[in-house]
């Protein structure tokens, strides 16, 4: 077993243990844990292990590792003048200056707000796609935010002794709210999952429309990556709504069966997350490091093309990429009679020109 897998197993076990510990502590030693939802809890633990494993093995890849290390370095560096230690023995040091860095918590907060909350970059790609994604991610986040604390036993409801129509909300064993089951608040609280299901359904309809009408998507989409997650989310949403329909309008008929099917669909979705498209939820954390990296690059020394002299990237980026290429086993160094050249020191536009010049020379034109 290589080091990446070994670290991945440790990461997976650590995350699964953290979730198990959270369930144990949050439910007061399982006192508030509902045995009826044990399937969901076990599915969550398995998914947590797989997510931890996948995340750590992915984050160990040379380019990912470089960004995460640089992101942490940049976030924690107070002043560039103090100098920041290299991310590793093979990582060039950050560039020095006497001014405070223009990147840090503010840049990170902005990146969190625009990339995770408002998802502004998707709106710029396509407004319709943005609505779709906000519905899917928002609806699913709302649903998970409700169900995870309930499944883990972190939140539960108790009726008052002597008045079964007054509910007390207990979070981590502490009473945090109280309401009548006939109040508007009760209606909202009891139906939040149904509201989230409707929001998700809107997103699913838009996603399905895009999947069957967009020529580009039709050509490139794959069942496991693009269709299966929609089917899984659809199954979870519809079976969840079926539970409400069963107890509200059908006197509970078929409720046991729907509950079982719903649990199976939820566990299937949870287990799909680490292995398929939905893992991007975790991979996009890298974009936070990239935001800091770009900001630092804008204010640091710039790289100028070895051929045309134009500014084409930050020197930090070019230097880091040389390290990453070495780690990946690529060697784009030229040893010429006139000196050494690394192809990374030539801008992309000049590389295209060199392609034409070398091809022309080869055929005498």
């Amino acid at each position: 077993m290589n080091e990446r897998n070994h670290l991945g197993l440790i990461g997976g076990a650590a995350l699964a243990l953290a979730v198990a510990g959270g369930i144990w502590l949050g439910s007061h030693g399982l006192r508030h844990f509902d045995p009826a939802v044990i399937g969901y809890a076990l599915g969550t633990l398995l998914a947590a292990f797989a997510v931890g494993y996948r995340f750590v093995t992915w984050a160990q890849r040379p380019p990912s590792r470089m960004y995460f290390r640089r992101g942490l370095q940049l976030l924690l560096s107070r002043k560039q003048s103090t100098g920041v230690a290299p991310a590793s023995a093979t990582t060039p040091p950050l560039h020095h200056s006497t001014t405070p860095p223009p990147y840090g918590a503010g840049t990170l907060g902005h990146a969190l707000a625009t990339k995770f909350v408002t998802q502004d970059f998707i709106r710029r790609r396509s407004p319709l796609r943005w609505v779709m994604h906000v519905c899917l991610s928002g609806g699913c986040t709302l649903a998970f935010a409700i169900t995870f604390p309930l499944v883990f036993g972190w939140v539960h409801f108790e009726s008052l002794p002597g008045n079964a129509e007054i509910y007390t909300v207990k979070a981590l064993g502490l009473a945090v709210d109280q309401f009548s089951v006939h109040s508007a608040k009760a209606f909202v609280m009891f139906n939040l999952l149904n509201f989230s299901a409707v929001i998700v359904l809107v997103g699913l309809v838009l996603a399905a429309y895009r999947r069957v009408t967009d020529a580009g998507e039709l050509a490139t989409q794959k069942f496991f990556e693009d269709i299966l997650p929609l089917l899984l989310i659809f199954a979870v949403t519809v079976t969840g709504l079926a539970l409400t329909v069963s107890y509200k309008f059908m006197a509970g008929r078929g409720h046991g069966l729907w509950a079982l099917v719903h649990m199976v669909s939820v566990v299937a979705l949870l287990l799909y997350i680490p292995f398929g498209k939905l893992f991007h939820i975790f991979q996009r954390t890298c974009s936070l490091s990239v935001s800091l990296y770009k900001k630092a690059g804008q204010h640091g020394p710039r790289a100028h093309c070895r051929a045309c002299g134009e500014d084409y990237a930050s020197q930090m980026h070019v230097d880091d990429l040389k390290v990453v290429l070495d780690q990946l086993g690529f060697d784009y160094r030229f040893a010429t009679a006139r000196g050494r050249v690394h192809y990374q020191d030539i801008c992309p536009a000049c590389r295209r020109r060199l392609l034409a010049l070398n091809q022309g020379r080869s055929i005498g034109r």
Partner: protein, 241 residues
């Protein structure tokens, strides 16, 4: 049994007409954005242009340096644009590609690149650029056709210093060549050198517009120019796709 269709590039034939750029944007997977690059090699001293599509490397550097695992190569060897959910717009791929192919669309926070018009080539059609290229600089067809009607030989191996890159797309080179070695020393400015090395670009019109390529006598067998009145126009069938 039909021969496999392949992509052949001969930048020396490019006349800089921009037809490929316009057509490229029409491709379904490109969403109105041209993915082909068409640069002047050195405009102050000449009109030579360099059309560059993705070479679809066997071991794509762009995919290997992607921190988000966003660039995928399919079973046919096509290296696709960055997966939209995953791309974090870091530009690693843009800087690392030895051919300078990936484009960072800053507005979209997304890397996009030539995918050989996957919506077309995956169903047996030609890429848009090769469909409209009037000079044969971008040709998509059979190896047999190229062997019969071109003087040059296609290679798909490139040597960048110590690195050898093999690609799905072919580059036309001299007949005896097995690989295209990149020379950088002659094209870079060095201390004490008093001229701009990029001015080594061809100054005049490309050969595709001159008789050196289109001269009927230079082509083996039959007329392949498409410009004459004879009945033998072998490219006509290929272009019809």
């Amino acid at each position: 049994m039909t021969s496999e269709l392949e992509f052949f590039i001969d930048p020396s034939r490019c006349i800089g007409c921009q037809a490929c750029v316009q057509a490229c944007a029409e491709c379904g997977t490109h969403r109105g954005v041209p993915m082909i690059h068409l640069d002047y090699v050195h405009r102050p001293t000449g009109v030579q242009t360099a059309p560059v599509v993705c070479m679809h490397c066997e071991d794509p550097t762009c995919a290997r340096v992607c921190p988000a695992d966003a660039i995928k190569q399919d079973d046919e060897g096509i290296v696709h644009s960055a997966a939209k959910p995953r791309c974090v717009a870091c530009s690693n791929c843009v800087l690392a590609c030895p051919f300078g192919v990936p484009k960072m669309k800053v507005d979209f926070d997304l890397m996009m690149k030539c995918d050989m018009c996957y919506d077309r080539t995956s169903v047996g059609k030609k890429p848009m650029c090769a469909t409209v290229c009037p000079s044969g600089a971008l040709y998509y067809g059979t190896r047999e056709y190229v062997a019969e009607f071109r003087r040059e030989t296609p290679v798909n191996e490139f040597r960048f210093g110590r690195e050898t890159v093999r690609t799905k797309v072919n580059m036309m080179t001299a007949p005896q060549m097995k690989a295209l070695p990149f020379d950088v020393a002659d094209f870079l400015p060095w201390e004490g050198q008093d001229f701009d090395p990029l001015s080594l670009a061809r100054a005049g019109a490309p050969d595709a517009a001159s008789s050196s390529v289109w001269d009927e006598e230079s082509l083996p067998g039959t007329c392949g120019s498409g410009n004459c009145a004879c009945k033998q126009q072998p490219e006509a069938a290929a272009i019809a796709n």
